[in-house]
């Protein structure tokens, strides 16, 4: 299925990737350079119709079901959906639940970034087909990935029961709270991977990326104090400020005939970008001091409009996420709590920062607690438009490159966005 070389037909230069490797989900890429450049990201991931079959399910099943949208960011879907259900049905949660959810999401963001950086992105920069082939020359990096991913997954697992598709998270709180000893043990382990985290930033800074600039509006969630993850106001580096409840008034989804994912746009098709780079561009000052000094060391300073630098931004978030988890675990002790939820009819949405950017869930629940309507907008839907635009600018600027090099560059650009096509076609 996969053809490794770009082909040339007459004067028409084409870059075609039939089945995009090392991304989550299934997509094809078509770039044609004949006269005006033509770019299409043909996301052929088969639709699973989550928004369709969630109708008729109970409010407390929603979290378990939507976590199956994505195998890399199940926690994000779960927490966003549950917060949306709580918003719709008027269920309140304790401060402890909010803190535990933050720990869950932070640990998952770090794990997801690590997998993307080392397993999906890095092989491109060392001419390897995959991580298995990197083992001989770059064994230390592969070991670092495994060690670090293991520890952060363990944190997710302690709170959630398991790292992939957690079981303890329900509307209203957690079914079980881990023992203090488990938290103490994981705190030690988190401290032990801190030096490795700093090394991640340097590993990623070694990637040779093109000096490519593509301006757009960067969107992220923000709150007054701290690094917003599970809520806040939607802000941009161009001055946008929208409350999550007003999401539907500002954003809308459009369908395209060549992909099963929808494109989500703000207003009149403003180019927006979400994800780690967007977060750093909008709230760099909220990072930990350690992270900021590391950013300075590798020469990263916002505003940065090079999409390839999303990798760098992710590596900085790895350091920051681990640091934040340590601070929370040092400051807070957790107690057993009764899980209590009495849902009322209503509708409501919630938004969180998933590893790849803004994730929105919205539900309408009837008096019996059954879902009547559902809407899910994923980070890759928010980025769909800008990925295609950036690809177009890239191929126009570099059209003189030989086809295999141009093809690799296109693949690197798409991977830098860390797209999740499984999520985008949910």
């Amino acid at each position: 299925m996969e053809s490794r070389t770009g082909e040339e037909v007459g004067s028409r230069t084409k870059v075609e990737v039939n089945y995009f490797a090392r991304v989550e989900g299934e997509t094809a890429l078509v770039v044609e350079l004949d006269g005006e450049a033509f770019v299409q990201l043909r996301i052929f991931e088969p639709p699973r119709f989550f928004e369709g079959f969630l109708v008729g399910r109970k409010y407390d099943e929603v979290g378990d079901i939507v976590s199956r949208i994505c195998g890399i960011c199940p926690v994000s879907h779960m927490i966003t959906a549950i917060q949306a259900v709580e918003r719709a049905t008027g269920i309140e949660v304790s401060d402890q639940t909010v803190t535990l959810r933050r720990l869950l999401c932070l640990s998952q963001i770090v794990a997801s970034h690590l997998v993307h950086l080392y397993m999906l992105a890095m092989p491109d920069y060392y001419g390897c087909p995959g991580i298995v082939d990197m083992q001989e020359r770059f064994g230390d990096r592969v070991q670092r990935l495994i060690r670090m991913k293991d520890v952060v997954n363990e944190l997710t697992g302690i709170i959630g029961g398991r790292a992939l598709h957690p079981v303890t998270v329900l509307p209203g709180g957690f079914t079980a709270i881990p023992k203090q000893q488990a938290f103490d043990d994981i705190l030690e382990k988190l401290r032990s991977i801190q030096p490795g985290a700093a090394q991640v930033v340097h590993d990623v800074a070694d990637f040779k990326v093109p000096d490519f600039h593509a301006a757009c509006e960067h969107l992220a969630l923000d709150v007054e104090h701290g690094y917003a993850i599970n809520g806040g106001t939607i802000v941009s580096d161009k001055g946008l400020a929208v409350e999550i409840d007003q999401y539907d008034e500002h954003f809308h989804e459009t369908e395209v005939p060549y992909a099963f994912a929808k494109k989500s746009v703000v207003g009149d098709q403003t180019m927006i970008r979400v994800g780690a780079l967007a977060r750093l561009n909008t709230k760099f000052d909220k990072l930990q001091d350690r992270t900021k000094s590391l950013a300075e060391e590798i020469g990263f300073s916002p505003p940065d409009d090079n999409p390839f630098h999303n990798n760098l931004a992710q590596s900085l978030e790895v350091v920051d996420g681990i640091e934040q988890c340590i601070q929370i675990l040092e400051a807070v002790s957790f107690e057993d709590e009764e899980l209590f939820a009495r849902p009322e009819a209503g509708e409501g949405g919630a938004m969180t920062e998933a590893p790849r950017g803004l994730l929105y869930h919205w539900y309408k629940i009837d008096p019996l607690g059954v879902v009547e309507e559902a809407n899910i907008v994923t980070p890759t839907s928010h980025n769909f438009l800008v990925i295609e635009r950036d690809l177009k600018e890239l191929v126009v600027q570099r059209r003189d490159l030989d086809p295999p090099t141009l093809r690799l560059l296109c693949e690197q650009l798409v991977r830098a966005y860390d797209p999740c096509f499984s999520c985008s076609v949910h």
């Binding site: 299925m1 996969e2 490794r4 089945y19 995009f20 490797a21 090392r22 991304v23 989550e24 989900g25 299934e26 088969p46 639709p47 699973r48 119709f49 928004e51 369709g52 079959f53 109708v55 008729g56 399910r57 109970k58 099943e61 378990d64 079901i65 199956r68 949208i69 994505c70 195998g71 890399i72 199940p74 997998v115 397993m119 092989p123 087909p129 995959g130 991580i131 298995v132 082939d133 083992q135 064994g139 592969v142 495994i146 991913k149 293991d150 029961g161 398991r162 992939l164 598709h165 079981v167 303890t168 329900l170 079914t175 079980a176 369908e255 005939p257 099963f260 059954v370 499984s422």
Partner: protein
């Protein structure tokens, strides 16, 4: 198998790709394990690769929801010694098969205004289309069965997968029965073991994510749920979250409220 490394192909259909991650980070021993086998096709792990086989083992992830997938499955079957579905989606339909509880057009229209581009068929497990040589169950697939599979492959023996109920593991964990003691609607008695009774160990009723165990008695459990005060709709939902199109759970998937109306 002989001295040659086993050749493995990994195919993904409609799913979250979580099982593939379980495989890639198998037991944290990614290097040791992956060195012992030759992964010739796995687009999420590496670029390149040969889709045409031949394979010693083809691992199939995801529910079949489009006809090109069924066609590809038949091809894969013809060039593979073993075909093993991994994870609930491939094993029993899993979450994507919840759509079978609705009319197809209704579900599609809720998501897309333009359904002309959609070529989705009813969601079915892999064994509805081709014969398979075993199942690695779980959502995500379980460590124990995965370990059993990899060691069997390297030793050249047939894997011995778990086929008892979650209840067996729950007893071993020393949990109080949440169905009997608390009256929670626990799917453990009809669900395949492998998770180590994860939910009951975390103060929660099993929701059946491992899919049906072979000799389940869903009718008895459904009746028990009714006696606990669950509505017919609630019972139906319990039995259709994982494994809508399975014969093992069929007796629990009766739309009783519609039967009463007739």
């Amino acid at each position: 198998m002989n001295d040659r490394k086993p050749r493995i192909g990994v195919f993904k259909y409609s799913c979250c790709a979580g099982c593939e991650f379980q495989l890639i980070f198998f037991q944290k021993h990614v290097l040791e394990t992956l060195k012992a086998v030759d992964i010739v096709y796995c687009p999420m792990l590496q670029s390149g690769g040969v889709e045409d086989g031949p394979f010693d083992v083809a691992l199939i992830e995801g529910t079949v929801t489009e006809d090109w997938q069924a066609a590809q499955l038949r091809k894969v079957r013809s060039v593979s010694k073993w075909v093993i579905p991994i994870g609930s989606c491939a094993v029993c339909g899993g979450v994507p098969a919840i759509k079978n509880t609705h009319e197809e057009y209704l579900v599609q229209n809720r998501v897309y205004a333009d359904t002309a581009k959609v070529h989705s068929i009813r969601a079915h497990s892999v064994d509805q289309y081709i014969p398979v040589d075993g199942y690695i169950k779980g959502c995500p697939m379980g460590q124990r069965d995965l370990t059993e599979f990899v060691t069997s492959l390297l030793l050249g023996k047939r894997p011995d997968f778990l086929c008892s109920a979650v209840c067996v593991e729950c007893k071993l964990e020393g949990n109080i029965c949440v169905l009997v003691a608390y009256g929670w609607p626990c799917m453990g008695p009809v669900t395949n073991a492998g998770c180590g009774a994860l939910c009951p160990s975390h103060d929660r009723a099993c929701y059946g994510c491992w899919g049906p165990m072979p000799s389940a008695n869903p009718r008895a459990l459904a009746n028990r749920f009714s006696k606990l005060g669950l509505t017919p709709e609630d019972v139906y939902r319990r039995f259709t979250e994982f494994g809508e199109p399975t014969k093992e759970w069929k007796a629990g998937q009766v739309r009783k409220w519609e039967v009463a109306q007739r």
